[in-house]
């Protein structure tokens, strides 16, 4: 407190510094301290009476005989917090846990297989679009070799519809397959459009 802030009292005299300070001081008692004081005191007196009849126990005292290794207390909070952080679920840990349980493993593999199929499917669709422009040229080659398109469909395990037509030899099929292997066109698309 600044002494210049002290105001004169009713009699016009300037009060002393102490007059301005609360006599209770800055000391606070814990919550419920006074409310429980009597019962706490009574318990202590009762315990003292019991200990009066236990001179050997009193003689032994209350000294703590349990020691800690040096630096144990200082390092303990870090140890606990590291353990807590390690126990938090992370992506890596979740994956590791997946491998530890057969049912979860099957589930994970199913998901992985579905993802692979999806990627392959997208790749095939993309390839199909890419090759549509050149498909008609290959169809014309097939027509020139006088091959039944629906037999080719059977060879490639596509929807097999048999039309009567000229049969082709293994050699012809082989040549055709070589021809197709070197290309990226979609045979199924070509056959459907061609028919």
């Amino acid at each position: 407190m600044n002494t210049n802030d002290i105001e004169p009292n009713k009699s016009g005299e300037t009060p002393s510094f102490l007059d301005q300070v609360s006599r209770e001081g800055p000391f606070e008692a814990p919550d419920r301290y006074f409310g429980s004081f009597m019962s706490v005191l009574a318990d202590k007196i009762e315990d003292e009476d019991v200990l009066e009849n236990a001179p050997n126990l009193r003689a032994a005292g209350k000294e703590n005989i349990f020691l800690q290794p040096s630096h144990y207390a200082a390092s303990f909070p870090n140890k606990v917090m590291e353990t807590i952080q390690a126990s938090q679920p992370s992506a890596t840990r979740t994956l590791r846990q997946l491998w530890q349980h057969p049912q979860q493993l099957v589930y994970a593999m199913s998901v992985a297989a579905a993802v692979v199929l999806l990627v392959v499917g997208m790749w095939v669709m993309g390839d199909q679009t890419h090759t549509q422009d050149t498909a008609i040229d290959y169809w014309s080659i097939i027509e020139q070799t006088d091959v039944d398109a629906f037999d080719i469909a059977e060879v490639f395990d596509l929807s097999a519809i048999s039309f009567e037509g000229e049969e082709f030899s293994e050699e012809e099929v082989s040549d055709l397959l070589d021809l197709l292997d070197q290309s990226t066109f979609d045979l199924e698309e070509t056959l459907i459009e061609g028919i």
Binding site: V50, L57, A60, N64, I65, F66, V80
Partner: protein
Amino acid sequence: MPVALKEQTLLDQLKNPVTRAYAFEQVVRDHQEMLYYHIRRMVIDHGDTDDVLQNTFLKAWRYLDRFRGDAAIKTWLYRIATNEALTFLNQKKKHMHQPVEDLEADLRHSLTQGKYIGGDEIQQKLQLAILTLPDRQRLVFNMRYFNELKYDEMADMLEVTVGALKASYHHAVKKIEKYLTES
């Protein structure tokens, strides 16, 4: 900062996910020593105490959301530590297929031969006398005699009536005095 205000600030920080870890570390620092000795007096060996103390704080962290602040943090932690210590002793009895006498012998061995034990002969004898008490009575005696906790605090921590605690403590004092007189 007044104790009540500090406790409330800590509680607020524990509820906030951003400050939770920081506040919890503070809780560990504030209570680790008190809980260490509470557990150590029950399980005797330092290594076992370390395990139980870590489990105590891990459980406290895991169940932090369930702590509503009705009791003081200290009371809540004492409760967890007590349960962990008693569970540890029961598991030791079960897993090692030890009868009660063998567990007492095991604890006595830790007390007389183990590391990190100090004190003079009479203080060690007092600890041996305490080991002859049943686990719960040992707990009550240690909390009242060494930790000097109030009965109503202990009643909250152990969920037992004050009357039962007093009877248990007074009975323990008599048994210990008898042991010390006879040995």
